[in-house]
Amino acid sequence: MQDVTSPIQSNTGLESMRLERLNRLLFNNYPDAIYTIALDGTFHTVNHTVCQILQRERHELLGNNYQHIIHPEHLEESGKYFKAAKQGLPQRYQTVVLNNSGETVHLDVTNFPLKTVSDKMVGIFGIAKDITEQKERERALLRTTQELQRQNEELELFRKIIAHDFRSPVARLLGLGKLLQKDNLPEKTQQTALVALLQSAQQLDGMVRDLNQMLALHHQGDEPREKCDVEELVQLCVANIQQEISNAGATITLAGTERMELFTVKAFLVSIIQNLLSNAIKYRLPDRPLEVMISLKQQGDEAIIAVADNGTGMDLDKIGPSLFKMYKRFHQDIDGKGLGLYLVKEQVRLLQGRIEVASTPGLGTTFTVTLPMHS
């Protein structure tokens, strides 16, 4: 059995090794990148790990400026750290470099000023640890956290829907049932109660179906994206609700002749456009023929779809925050389930887009949907 209390048994052999050689061994075999950079910014020495990380041969790096490997977005920042190290101050920071395949590599860098015995700055000595995997894990964790947060908010929303909206027809059914049990109820009251009983049951049924559709939405969010010609989809929507359009005597025009193709979830895009059109028809002014203008515009890598109508309009100061909420209705005379805009908002969100609204009472409303060209 070996005596573990005296681990160094052959230190005579170690002593024979020169410090310089030890250093070189360490330098070459250390698992992190080690390098020296001259004052002009060119690599002076690099160890094997530097070459591995950057997927380059040693000769490709030596004599070349370190800036060539830095990710363009981090150039300015790394320049500052380099300058500070040249002034004699050790630096520790994180940066991003590009390897020979153009992939980004995250590094945790420590740079020391390299001085001669007479205290003259000659360059920089540095160690860099590849933290790409760690960064990716952090990002994945952040995404998961955000998704969890969103799902929690959604759970709270569904709790509210059950506590408020679903409880409402249930309470009515209970009340009507109890009322109908009473003796000598006036004939007319009894009749009204029976009609209301059926209506409430139908309403509850409708809400159960809506909720089911809403919950199914999230699975559809994972559906494959496909190329969607927006103009074609607008025509499809118009065809889908042709009856409503003709009944309202509405004119729907498409502005912007530019062909726009999105890579997105087709069913969502159709639903968004169709809901906005239906909304415009529902909230038109009775004494003014409805005109809806759909305009398409591409801005950078975003598509802007605007649906503008000359309908009743709304006072956004009053209803703004509740506009996209479930089961919120703002027009007393118009039958709506209060679900359309909530669905639109959710679908836009699932496509990583955003929706804005501008409106003037008596003049009209414009909904502007901005979606990534490639979601």
Binding site: H164, S168, V170, L176, L179, A193, A196, Q199, S200
Partner: protein, 132 residues
């Protein structure tokens, strides 16, 4: 029996139900239902300020979840007249909501005389009638 009762609810069936139950229990001489909370509020404010001949209702059944003007907004608009309403007009929240947060909020609102859950129970009506 009360003289005058207001029912403020955006839902027609709810008003019909409350009215029918109150009627069956001979709760009040006059039951007035308001589908539009704003009209009810204006009515109350006029009476509270004395700018209208109409007497204040002795009891108000107020729904919470209404578009345009929620029950909470309604109470907030009435709060400057709390003194004028005190002892003359009792406000009961009558809601279908089973949200405990709303019950807690109601308990902390001095204008609220009670929190009732729909459907209106006969027992509550009896109790309210006794305190007439």
């Amino acid at each position: 029996m009360y003289n005058k009762v207001f029912i403020v609810d955006d839902d027609e069936v709810s008003i019909f139900l409350t009215e029918a139950i109150l009627e069956a229990e001979s709760f009040a001489t006059e039951c007035k239902g308001f589908l539009d909370a704003k009209t009810a509020l204006q009515n109350l404010l006029d009476s509270a300020k004395g700018s209208s001949e109409d007497a204040l209702p002795e009891v108000i059944f107020l729904d919470l979840n209404m578009p345009f003007l929620s029950g909470w907004d309604f109470l907030e608009a009435l709060s400057p007249y709390e003194q004028a309403l005190k002892g003359r007009c009792r406000i009961y929240l009558l809601t279908s909501s089973v949200d405990e947060q709303e019950r807690t909020r109601a308990a902390g609102t001095s204008l609220v005389a009670g929190f009732l859950q729909k459907p209106l129970e006969d027992e509550w009506i009896m109790q309210l009638k006794e305190s007439c």
